[in-house]
């Protein structure tokens, strides 16, 4: 049987253009091992799918992960959704957070285990998000569990910071804990229209408070189509707040969650950023409330979850490349 299979594969692959592929349904693990050994000997490329099939590509294909900058490679950065509820109900929230959202909190113990496995799994940065992480009473313990392991950035609307929560962070190293505050506009009215009345004033106050406490602060703006004209004045405003250019992120609204319009993002069009929630591991934080972005419900072992995301990304990119070649021939 195995000799016939090898003959079939050799014949089918030899007729392919470079980068073209064939699909083989797996009858057994031995078949996968045989095909892997054949690919290794003959300078072809094997991509294994968790659906039970494998694809053999003609030639040694470049690794799409290697082609990415190191900091953008899946698994370099790990997102942790600590919870999904929020004190705000932004009309474009990509994960449908609001005061009424199911909190779906990751337990402190779970977060500790994720953080403990992260470095050995190749993670180099932790990014904490939600919901609003600072709505959790134990947020200081959460950030301590993360920042003592790896450089950590926490995303916040900045509104809940003044007071005991910030005081609890006073002993944190400014080198390992940073903040990313959401601020959409230099214009109070534009910001509040999406995020709620009074939110602009408190966000700006939060930025000033954090900077005053010596923390590194990034500012992230989410712009609708009608808000794009404000981008230049926004940068001038951030200059005034003392936010360096490298610490500013301006992005468009994603058509996910509550957003009715915006940039359409799919697993096929996104380089993954591994994202852990109480429900499992997602492809990217922007889709952490959507079934199509769910990779696995098994968060631990984290190394295996990250490996699965990387495998899917490689398979997706190679399939896209093969399709592009097919269409380009027309």
């Amino acid at each position: 049987m195995s000799a016939s299979l090898v003959l079939d594969i050799a014949e089918r692959v030899s007729g392919l253009p470079a980068g073209g592929s064939i699909t083989i349904e797996l009858a057994s693990a031995e078949v996968a091992d045989l095909v892997a050994a054949w690919c290794e000997r003959t300078a072809n490329t094997l991509v294994e799918h968790d659906s039970g099939s494998i694809e053999v590509y003609r030639g040694r294909l470049a690794d799409p992960i290697e082609a990415l900058p190191v900091e953008r490679r899946p698994g370099h950065r790990l997102w942790i959704y600590t919870n999904f509820h929020c004190n705000l109900a932004c009309d474009y929230c990509c994960v449908r957070s609001s005061p009424r959202a199911d909190p779906r909190m990751l337990s402190l113990d779970h977060i500790r285990r994720v953080a403990a496995e992260a470095e050995a799994a190749g993670v180099r940065e932790l990014w904490i998000t939600g919901g609003e992480p600072f709505i959790r009473p134990d947020i200081a313990e959460v950030l301590d569990a993360c920042a003592r392991r790896l450089p950590t950035t926490v995303l916040t609307n900045g509104m809940l910071l003044p007071g005991p929560r910030l005081a609890a962070l006073s002993e944190f190293s400014r080198d390992t804990l940073a903040f990313q505050v959401s601020l959409d506009s230099p214009d109070r009215e534009l910001h509040d229209r999406h995020r709620g009345v009074g939110s602009w004033d408190r966000a700006v106050a939060g930025i000033r408070t954090l900077r005053g406490a010596g923390f590194r602060v990034r500012v992230a703006a989410t712009l609708g189509y009608e808000d794009q004209a404000t981008e230049a004045s926004f940068h001038r405003f951030l200059d005034g707040l003392g936010i360096p250019a490298a610490e500013r992120l301006v992005r468009r609204i994603a058509k996910r969650g509550f957003a009715e319009d915006g940039v359409v993002l799919t697993p096929q069009s996104l380089v993954p950023e591994v994202t852990v929630t109480a429900d499992g591991v997602y492809w990217h934080p922007v889709g952490a409330d959507d079934e199509d972005m769910l990779v696995t419900t098994l968060v631990l072992p984290l190394e295996e979850a990250i490996a699965l995301v990387r495998e899917r990304f490689v398979a997706t990119r190679r399939r896209q490349d093969a399709l592009a070649r097919i269409f380009a021939c027309g």
């Binding site: 050799a10 014949e11 045989l34 050994a37 030639g59």
Partner: protein, 265 residues
């Protein structure tokens, strides 16, 4: 504008296009640039080389021998792949069939590849005759699956192996590249074994006629030999070469003799 040399190659599979685009790119900006034309079979390519339609032909060993037989010492080889220097044929059978030498094939069934394949038909018959076996001593089963391509596609050799596995033949003649492509004995242990390996012989080369100025030809070869695997692995993997080398003509002697002996046109 740089001098452009026109190279002919046979399109035996879709990757011939990226291979030659890659080689053309390698020559871009050099002393002698090159472009290529693709043929559907080696006979047309040899005709066009002799007619002066192309400057250089990327020839199989049979195409080279035919060129020399038609024009004599007006033809010369410029370069080869490292893998062309010590090419070999193998005879394979089901494991445990009891074959040990060529003579064991007397009265048995031998599957050959395309009749114009040096590695899978012409040279195996030549070496069988050296071992004292004529064609009539063996039941020959021919798979002419890629005639005109001189066995380049490998398909006729895979057909021959399949005939062994299907018990239509006792042994099959194949080239080393096909033997490697199916993983020799190692990938499917107990299925096939090689019981004979030919002496080394030469395979492809770049053939020119004396119409190509020697200095132009030499400049072209110099640039070809500068092609490094580290910078061109994709193209060179597709072409099955790690390094381009100067021709080693003694390896063509068995095929010249075989073509003469078998009356290959």
């Amino acid at each position: 504008m740089a001098d452009t040399v026109l190279v002919g190659a046979v399109a035996y599979n879709p990757n011939v296009v990226p291979v030659w685009e890659g080689i053309r790119d390698h020559f871009r900006g050099s002393e002698v640039e090159c472009d290529f034309v693709l043929y559907s079979n080696y006979e047309r390519q040899v005709d066009d080389l002799i007619a002066g339609q192309i400057d250089i032909a990327w020839n199989t060993n049979l195409a080279y021998v035919r060129t020399v037989r038609r024009v004599g010492d007006r033809a010369r080889a410029l370069a080869m792949r490292d893998t062309d220097v010590g090419f070999r044929s193998f005879l394979v059978s089901r494991a445990g069939s009891g074959f040990h030498t060529l003579r064991d094939l007397r009265g048995r069934r031998l599957a050959l590849g395309s009749r114009d394949s040096a590695q899978a038909a012409i040279l195996p018959l030549f070496f069988l005759r050296r071992a004292g076996l004529a064609e009539e001593d063996i039941a020959i089963l021919r798979f002419d699956s890629d005639v005109g391509k001189h066995g380049d596609t490998g398909r006729s050799e895979l057909d021959a192996i399949r005939a062994v596995l299907d018990d239509q033949a006792d042994a099959a003649a194949i080239g080393v590249t096909t033997w490697d492509a199916i993983g020799r004995e190692e990938l499917a242990p107990g299925a096939l074994e090689a019981f004979w390996e030919s002496p080394p012989y030469a395979h492809c080369n770049f053939t020119v006629l004396d119409a190509l100025d020697e200095e132009r030809g030499e400049a072209w070869v110099r640039r070809l030999l500068e092609m490094r695997y580290e910078q061109n692995s994709e193209v060179m993997d597709l072409e099955g070469v790690r390094e381009w080398v100067r021709p080693q003509l003694e390896g063509y002697a068995p095929l010249f003799a075989a073509v003469e002996e078998q009356g290959v046109a």
